[in-house]
Subunit: 171 residues, 2 copies
């Protein structure tokens, strides 16, 4: 039997509180998981996840803390109606994403990595226009340091529970 | 500025799914945190939490994996109307609880430790009688191994986000 897993970065409480102030109204996944940056999702058996956990430990050791900068609210339209806090791509984040996707089982990403924190989704076209129109000029500038990422699994009700934390540069 | 922190054990997905099947109907905290065993809650500043995190690391190293056994549904009535999965006290769990409460800042517990996973709360007396009456004979026997605990913090909306995982007996 396989379970669904996710590898994510949780931003600071300040950013999570900001994102939740939007998600409460615009994101039906609001109650299922705190605000996050997804690095990978995959399915795995119990045996596979033990191996993945070991691999993530060694990946974490080989990376250093890096800065994560949020500059603006953006949208994936016309691909889909997801509104998000756009994270500036940095070498530290890109390299972590790349190594995780190369070394952890599961499908390779089909698209370029656009790091983001979702604040609205499953909106109709009209809702999307209204919400994005009112949020796109918001001043959401913020910078912080990322020093860890988390491995989560999904419960039957669709919510996510944390299995393990990996600290960058730590043994 | 202080934040609210919690130290908890998340049981296996199987137990979390079971607990959520009850919590969905009977626990208004259903969406705020996955099913858990609380070891301690406390308030701390950023500086204090770094120290607490180091202390929790060394506590985790000094403890070994232990078995956690659930035998029945129970209730804290008449103290309050909380219905829970009762966890059999074991030396491993008691010692971990005791060391965390001795070494981590915050108030010492006023009552004996009754390890439990809440499945219903904030029920009226009538609701409590109905629900507990129908659940108290449920066959919820289950045993599993605990090999980790987690440090969480509370967001503005009342939900909890995981800060760190501590694996028992690991460096």
């Amino acid at each position: 039997m396989t379970m669904k897993y996710g590898i994510v970065i949780f931003p600071s409480k300040k950013v999570q509180d900001l994102a939740n102030s939007y998600r409460k109204r615009y994101d039906p996944h609001y109650a299922l998981i705190p605000p996050h940056v997804t690095l990978k999702t995959f399915e795995a058996s119990a045996g596979q996840i033990r191996e993945a956990s070991d691999t993530l430990s060694s990946i974490a050791k080989n990376h250093k803390d890096f800065d994560m900068s949020i500059k603006k609210v953006s949208s994936f339209q016309p691909v889909n109606n997801v509104i998000y806090l756009k994270i500036e791509p940095t070498d530290g984040l890109n390299q972590l994403h790349q190594e995780i996707n190369e070394k952890i089982i599961g499908e390779k990403p089909e698209y370029a990595f656009v790091p983001h924190i979702t604040i609205g989704q499953k909106l109709s076209n009209d809702e999307h226009s209204d919400v994005y129109g009112s949020l796109r000029m918001s001043d959401v500038g913020h910078e912080e340091t990322v020093d860890r990422f988390h491995l989560l699994y999904q419960l039957e009700n669709g919510s996510w529970s944390v299995y393990e934390t990996f600290r960058l540069g730590k043994d």
